[in-house]
Amino acid sequence: MELAALQSARADLQAIPATLVAISPQRPAHSLAVAERRHLAFPILSDRGNQVARRFGVVFTLPDYLREIYRAFPLDLAQYNEAEPWTLPMPGRFVIDRAGVVRDVDVDPDYTTRPEPAATVAAVRKIVGRP
């Protein structure tokens, strides 16, 4: 859902020009499936064991009681994530300028909350000094 919304903002980002990547702990095959189904024109990068997510400070570990609930759905994250399957990134979005400095951050522990793509486009336009 969020990726499809971002896809709709991609043309605006491309015009700036800015690039967009998604980073996920899941195996590339799962990302390939979603990229094709949603016709995504930006890459979903495979972050095995959340090593890059950890450096962005967005990693958390699911508590045991939640793992039990997921398993009962049934949902076994080990089928999706190769390493540390019950460790996940908080949903979040970072805008990085050309010098490599973080200029905008939107991260929320609530996985049902995601930044609006329009806000992301606005944040990027702001750092390139365009309305």
Partner: protein, 82 residues
């Protein structure tokens, strides 16, 4: 519909199909994550973003340095398709 409205509708639909104790446990996990100060450990505005090179969904390496050479970069973290 904005993404926010779409997500709220999705959440309401999903929660209506789940047992109340399951919904409560899922809310508890979010509340605990909020309370433990996880947000305080997130990279902040003004800090240097880590450089990375990761394979895309087809196994092709993508480097942040190469993307930044073309302009600003938006990085979004995605839990997965499940």
């Amino acid at each position: 519909m904005s993404l926010k409205e779409e997500l709220a509708a999705f959440r309401a639909r999903a929660e209506s199909k789940r047992a109340p104790e399951v919904v409560a446990a899922m809310h508890r996990a979010v509340d605990e994550l909020r309370a433990c100060g996880a947000i305080g450990r997130v990279l902040k505005v003004g800090e240097r973003a880590p450089e990375f090179t990761l394979p895309d969904q087809r196994g092709e390496p993508v480097s942040s340095a190469a993307l930044l050479a073309r302009g600003p970069l938006v990085v979004t973290f995605y839990r997965g398709v499940w």
